[in-house]
Amino acid sequence: MECTVLSLLLDSGRIAGAFGYDREKGHFILWSAKSIVVATGGIGRAFKITSNSWEYTGDGHALAYRAGAELLDMEFVQFHPTGMVWPISVQGILVTEGVRGEGGVLRNSEGRRFMFDDIPELYKEQTADSEEEGWRYTQGDKNARRPPELLTRDHVARCINREVKAGRGSPHGGVYLDIAWIKDRIKDGAEHIKRKLPSMYHQFKQLAEIDITQVPMEVGPTTHYMMGGIRVDGDTQASSVPGLYAAGEAAAGLHGANRLGGNSLSDLLVFGRRAGQFAAAFAKENGAAAVDQSQVDATAKAALKPFDIGPSGENPYQIQYELQEFMQALVGIVRVESEMQDAAERVTKLRTKSERAGIANHRQYNNGWHTAMDLPNLLDVSEAITRAALMRKESRGAQFREDYPNKDAEWGKYNIVVRRGADGEIVTEKRPVQPLPAELKQVIEEMK
């Protein structure tokens, strides 16, 4: 059954249930629950170009925020360096890191491997200094260092961004990712590529009519993953609201300021299970909470408002597009104070506009209504991202600020927490980073 949750219900501060609707019929549904695990994924749809599906509208983040939970690290949005840029129907769809892992290289329109031009000091020691060495690394040579194409995602994304802005991009506003060249190095290269990267071969063949064993792909950055989310306890996945748990992308903390490839899957397997275990234990230890009918009625009333306004109201799709446009332009890969201030003001204005969103017809599978219901969530997470990004006056991990391009050791001591104030206003505050538990410190020492 396809369902959407509209609000989390509370009984004197603890979780009592959830209220939402099913898409097929448009009926409201009330779930009574002693505990709830939020596993709603990310926020990619707040941006124009994203690898995420339509569902990634930050519902879980926003539901928890409105229920009083604290959000953490919301400034850290990961832009994956390689998404498809053409044709427009597939803009943003992910091109796996595996292409570069197998020896794929990034080139600009002049044919230059521009990633060699900008290797951060911190990674110089671990990065190949010649194309030859980089190639050997991709072929499993343990003595070789990794090619600069495999530097952290934020850095590669910014370098691509810079090449495009400098006019050295590909025809559709990306750069070239070339795996076809390895045919010079490997016998039966075309077959090798198809065998190693079957889904990428088919993806480009079918969606773009491009044979990646013959010609380079065009790629550009795409909004991919949210490091920030609901602040949870590292052991139990419990949020600051009793009975509310979170797992996966909706939870924060595990990936710090920048997730590494593959770590999301292990996150889900380990901490998803833990969230379930501890939520179940909470439900066992605590009796049923009472559902407050007035909360249900208020949510239902707000949900039906677009029908009361009717088709002469604001178009919900256009509001969503407007948000995606300016979040992409103003709070994207490269951030700066003035632009983010602008974005924050626009979010406020758009919120007013979204309250006038109107819809025709009835509730049964009405995509316009669904879109209108997503707007408050998108606006809440966009505001949280923008406020947190403004507050962190440094560049770290996925956040790059042109006005503060360096890492600041002082800022490294703090996380930013976003929560809802007593009057419904957004509050951002610095919170000292929790010290590492002794047993984890020991593990890290042993790994050194």
Binding site: E2, E24, S53, W54, E55, W86, P87, I88, S89, V90, I93, Q203, Q206, L207, P311, N315, P316, Y317, Q318, Y321, I359, A360, N361, Q364, Y365, N366, N367, G368, W369, T371
Partner: protein, 245 residues
Amino acid sequence: MATQAMFRIWRGDAGGGKLYDYNTPVDEGMVVLDAIHRIQAEQAPDLAVRWNCKAGKCGSCSAEINGMPKLMCMTRLSDLNLDMPVIVEPMHAFPPIRDLVTDVSWNFRAKKTIKKFKPRPPDAPDGTWRMQQADVDRVQEFRKCIECFLCQDVCHVLREHHKHDEFIGPRHLVYAAALQMHPLDTEDRIPDLKHKHGIGYCNITTCCRQVCPEFITITENAIIPLKERVVDQFFDPLKRFLRIL
């Protein structure tokens, strides 16, 4: 390429419906789903369409485009004749919910009637198995299925004759084949395929294979080998003779 196109879209619900015309601007590189989204955003906000990944991987946006079962996200406008209206209808083999959205839940119920994977005990003390690569390769193709149900939609047994109660359809025959041919599996699904799942209804017209967006060789690699196993178990004259003796 044309800059405007006419889309003739079926709108309605379980009670009936009809085709409505929408004229919309189109750009190079668009697929049918892009055009549907543009119509939604600009002309018909309540137009119902189910979609998700927009990359031919989730199997949600199945519909009939100019009469052919297709994924809307994988049908490029450049491959259609835009001088004529593009007709977009929901799948016919399933009950309509609204507009382009159908109720495909019968498929989930039908799938549950197939006996589950039953592996033999592990081959090694550490709980692992050993398989031949050739045996793995044989079932690999079936695992590409994205459950878009276009094969179910095109199949005349379901589409024209509505044998949903007697025939599980190509998708589930592929699923049964994936389990039955799995090198570790020990279950016997052949009697069910004959009696309960109606494999005999399939007269191998290959319509399902032709509409599969994952290019699974449904008829030749899944259904025919299963039919052969049914024949082997139930209709082999020599075996029959031996049984009599």
